[in-house]
């Protein structure tokens, strides 16, 4: 079977055309040669220029086909869950590419896939931060992002359509501390600075008000901007039930400000603006102290991921240089953790613990 330069066989394109014809209840469907877009190692994104005649979708469209890169085995759940998350987000008014149809049958394009509308813009963190720094008028993007996040947090359990998400108990912060410790134990070398941070996190764990859908990678670099216009919140692969304040801490954490440390909202705006946007939808002004707790957690979690990525770097794979260098940001993450958790605070917490004021 010959594969076109497009990564699809002629038969797959026929099957895809038939799939769209059926889903759109159309008379005819024309698909121009698919164009590969940037994507991850696990998924591929293909731009489909379509001309649909008849049915509710009549007209010309730019849609994106997202499919698993390698055969479908064990990954069909991945595409299906991502589709369900996008759909839940879209229906809650979050700015995401509108998800259209999912198919987990590998017979159409060789792997599970879904179709979504194309959105314009780019997500490169340092470029967005630079662009926002140079914009003469404040773009309001920080406030807008706060509102977007609050909309994500309106999605709450139980949800049958999100039944694949692991249930969470009432202390997400302590669960996370335990999980990170477990993963650090699997790491080759001990990291006392991270352990310092974890023991601080254990002692200061805040009570969780509400369990909500957390994006878990909501930060600059994971939303798309077309000029000053926010066009999509992307990268939903880590989403799960948890404490919504975790997302706020992740977004504001200094490690995600791309060289603009004084712009505390993701390097693109003021913390106040982000909080205001969040409150405008949720009615809840984030508790600054709690957010700063989650910023410590953000640095610890990102340091763990960076350590794990660095372990995957290998001389046989020159592409892995980026992973190797990611390992070298761990010291600055550790330094930030230490700066945020000086011992006076620890000592006060120990005393509070002795007086029986410990949470959870």
């Amino acid at each position: 079977m010959t594969t076109l330069g497009t990564g699809f066989t002629a038969r797959q394109l026929d099957a895809l055309r038939a799939f769209i014809l059926w889903k759109a209840d159309a008379d005819t469907v024309d698909i121009a040669e698919p164009v590969k877009l940037s994507g991850g190692a696990i998924q591929e994104n293909w731009l489909l220029a379509l001309d649909i005649r008849g049915g509710a979708h009549e007209g010309r469209h730019d849609w994106v086909l997202r499919r698993d890169s390698r055969g479908g085995i064990g990954q069909s759940h991945g595409r299906a869950s991502e589709f369900a998350l996008l759909k839940a987000a879209f229906e809650s008014g979050v700015t995401v590419p509108e998800p259209l149809w999912l198919d987990t049958d590998t017979r159409i394009v060789g792997a599970p896939f879904f179709l979504m509308r194309r959105v314009d813009g780019m997500a490169t963190g340092h470029r967005i931060v630079k662009q926002q720094a140079e914009t003469p008028q404040p773009s309001g993007v920080a406030e807008r992002l706060g509102a977007e996040l609050a909309r994500i947090h309106t999605i709450r359990p139980p949800r049958q359509d999100l039944g694949f998400l692991a249930p969470v108990d009432t202390t997400p912060a302590l669960d996370l501390v335990a999980r990170i410790r477990g993963e650090l134990d699997a790491h080759a070398l001990p990291r006392p600075a991270l352990e310092w941070g974890l023991s601080w996190l254990e002692r200061h764990a805040p009570a969780t008000r509400d369990i909500v859908l957390c994006h878990r990678d909501f930060r600059t670099g994971n939303y798309m901007m077309d000029g000053n216009r926010l066009t999509a919140i992307i990268d939903w692969e880590f989403a799960g039930w948890g404490d919504g304040m975790e997302d706020i801490g992740w977004f504001c954490a200094r490690c995600w400000r791309f060289g603009q440390p004084s712009r505390e909202a993701g390097g693109v705006g003021e913390r106040e603006d982000f909080y205001r946007g969040y409150a405008s939808v949720s009615g809840l002004w984030p508790d600054d102290e709690v957010v700063r707790y989650w910023e410590v957690m953000a640095h610890v979690r990102w340091a763990l991921i960076a350590l794990q990525q660095a372990r995957r770097a290998h001389a046989a794979d020159p592409e892995s240089l980026v992973l190797a260098l990611t390992g070298h940001i761990v010291p600055e993450l550790e330094l930030e953790i230490l700066r945020m958790t000086p011992p006076a605070a620890s000592a006060a917490a120990v005393q509070a613990h002795a007086r029986g004021e410990q949470h959870a």
Partner: protein, 129 residues
């Protein structure tokens, strides 16, 4: 005896050549890759200049953990760090020990940042409001 330039100097020269002669000719992905290579060379050069922290870290940890000095080695250093890690996890530490551990962690972490990304130490820390 090796003659000049020393390894770190040689790396610095190679990095300058990469940054000034080669990188400007490149664009897109290759330019980005060249910048990453330059970054990697910079880290190695700074590590070479700093020398191995093994002996000083072993001594500091032995002092911190109340052990008699013993010959430093990679195994010994790992073992001491593991012991510190275990203590921190049990967090039964008293405030005075906390203070010393903190000072040690801050100093060693700072030295690591001096190697990995010295610019980070110059970035102003945002005020905690």
């Amino acid at each position: 005896m090796r003659d000049a330039p020393r390894s770190d100097e040689l790396l610095d020269i190679a990095r300058q050549a990469l940054q000034q002669q080669i990188t400007p000719q490149l664009d897109g992905g290759s330019r980005h890759a060249a910048m990453m290579v330059a970054n990697a060379l910079g880290i190695v050069a700074r590590q070479l200049r700093a020398g191995s922290p093994q002996a000083s870290e072993c001594a500091a940890l032995e002092d911190l953990l109340g052990h008699a000095p013993s010959p430093p080695s990679p195994t010994r250093l790992e073992q001491l760090n593991r012991e510190l890690t275990t203590r921190l996890r049990q967090h039964g530490a008293n405030a005075a020990l906390d203070e010393n551990v903190y000072r040690y962690l801050l100093a060693t972490t700072r030295s690591l940042v001096e190697e990995s990304n010295p610019k980070y130490l110059q970035e102003p820390a945002p005020p905690r409001t």
